[in-house]
């Protein structure tokens, strides 16, 4: 999003090459090719879910490319007295490392962070994507899911990288299992004791247990929760197939291309960012659309760009799904078999 400054000659050179037949790009890719995408999940052990994504790492020198690290942290929030919302809420933020943008002043860096944060938050925190298992105790406690993404280096196409890393981190997120606990007075003693119990209220005991603190409703609703000891870190975040992927279409009329390097980004006068969600049993939906740049579009052009964008997003989604399944296998199944062998 932050463009490097290039000369008019270089800009014209890049534009002419792209509009030529066949279209030429500096690294020999076709218009719709992505650079190599490297993805690893589970990189932050203290986070509930994390992912590190790198687009365009050069295989020989082993550096460069756009690198984004996304991590999900779950915290408990109080619904009655705090800022919690019944059913949980999601907050996203993007941090741009100053080493990724050495030419930007701190104000400009702040503004870039704001813009990327707003884009990610408005898209991912929308109620239509809200996962079903972020509540703990209805009207009392709920999870706050904080998704923090850090842009470590930027070699172009940072928006696509952010959404992919966010999707991978959310895929990897495990919500700790909770068990509701309620306090019940002992039958025999007049003073109130307590014992942990499940949500199921025993009807026989209920009629006889009465304490000074007992108002009819409070006995039925759990007052607190505990984390039972479990062999895994929790259950997966619900609705994880619905998280969107984004494609940035760089438009030099009449064509568009994907995955631009910084000089290519500086040469395009218009960029269309589309985030699509592909749920398993519903038609695909558009979750975000943004336009950037001093050029204008006609409605028929936008329609065809939408159709193209959906196709590109579909391919990206399929590739990302395959990789995430692979990661699941690598981290869980293979680790278990290795453990069993030992």
């Amino acid at each position: 999003m932050a463009s490097t400054s290039i000369s008019k000659a270089e800009r014209s050179y890049i534009q002419t090459s792209l509009q030529g037949s066949p279209p030429l790009r500096a690294d020999g890719r076709s218009l719709l090719d992505f650079r190599t995408v490297l993805l690893e999940t589970g990189v932050a052990p203290l986070a509930n879910g994390s992912a590190k994504l790198n687009i365009g790492k050069s295989p020989h020198e082993g550096g460069g490319g756009t690198e984004v690290l996304a991590a999900v942290k779950l915290e408990v929030e109080d619904v009655e007295h705090g800022e919690g919302v019944d059913g949980g809420r999601i907050v996203c933020s993007v941090l741009c490392s100053p080493s990724a943008y050495p030419h930007l002043s701190s104000n400009a860096l702040d503004e870039l962070q704001y813009d990327l944060t707003t884009l990610l938050h408005q898209t991912l925190a929308h109620p239509s994507l809200h996962p079903p298992n972020l509540g703990i105790l209805p009207h009392k406690k709920a999870w706050l899911l904080s998704l923090d993404a850090a842009v470590l280096t930027d070699a172009g196409n940072v928006v696509d990288a952010l959404f992919m890393a966010a999707r991978a981190a959310l895929w990897d997120t495990k919500v700790p299992r909770t068990r509701a606990v309620q306090y019940r007075a002992r039958r025999a003693a007049p003073a109130t004791g307590h014992e942990g119990a499940d949500m199921d209220v025993d009807p026989d005991q209920d009629q006889e247990a009465r304490s000074g603190f007992d108002t009819r409703d409070m006995v039925r609703t759990a007052a607190d929760f505990e984390l039972p000891d479990y062999w895994d870190e929790g259950e997966v975040l619900g609705g994880r197939r619905n998280w969107p992927v984004a494609v940035t279409l760089n438009i030099i009329p009449p064509l568009h291309f994907l995955d631009a390097t910084p000089p290519e980004e500086a040469s395009t006068s218009l960029r269309l960012i589309l985030a699509f969600s592909f749920p398993s049993n519903s038609p695909s939906s558009l979750q975000a659309m943004r336009l950037l740049g001093p050029a204008e579009l006609a409605l028929p052009q936008i329609k065809s760009l939408l159709a193209d964008g959906e196709r590109h997003a579909q391919e990206l989604f399929a590739a990302l799904e395959a990789k995430l399944q692979d990661e699941d296998v690598r981290r869980n199944v293979k680790a278990r078999t290795r453990f069993a062998v030992r």
């Binding site: 707003t118 558009l286 740049g293 204008e296």
Partner: protein, 260 residues
Amino acid sequence: MAQSNFDRRRINGPDESFPPLFEADEEDPVHNLPRTRRGRSADDIRPIFLKAGLISQANGSAYIETERTKIACAVYGPRQSKTTVYSENGRLNVEVKFAPFSCTRRRAPIRDAEDRSVAVQIHQALWPSVRLELLPKSTLDIFITIIENDGIEGCIASGSVAASAALADAGIEMLGLVVSCAASTIGKEIWLDPTEEEARMASGSLILSGMPALGTITNVWQSGRLTPEETIQCMEACQGRCLDIHTVVAQALLDNAQVT
């Protein structure tokens, strides 16, 4: 004992205060989703009042009011860029400020991320329309003050209309007047110009900005779940409505020009 958000420049009220809870507020607004729109039809937009030239100190200004969205816009420029970097094209700088009393909850007077997100969208809506190549080394400052806020979509749409009218009032050369319209999908219907509650109930919202004089689109902002077909329907509905808004803006500017 000063709290961390003690503002030395202003007279601070009490540390904690709660708004009164009325019985009507107890019902959860999300659940009573009215199947038909209250007060107007699905493609009606709220009536627009637009007047240019109200801020005499600025080079150009406009005030727009649509029911509960009230926005004042002032344009200063073209004036010399403060930065030493030579820029061949002029710079368009949009700053948005929400008045502390503009929303149901008081907003702190400091600039925050929401101000910037509205400013970025208005900037994108206006950027293709202003002939910045005629203004090298210059900056156009557009200051937008939101006096009453009825939903972010309404603010962005009305703000860009006001800003474009103010630019025209300032005599800046443009390719065309920019007008915006917002739309929300509620169930199967598309409601144009949603209020804050309608937008919150909606499954998805879209704001379209364009220049009806040239038939082009300068900015599209979409959020929420919309199928691509619904998106195109929303865009077409908005574009049709933009033609009407354009006549209102043009008329307001003509009236102002005839008076002075």
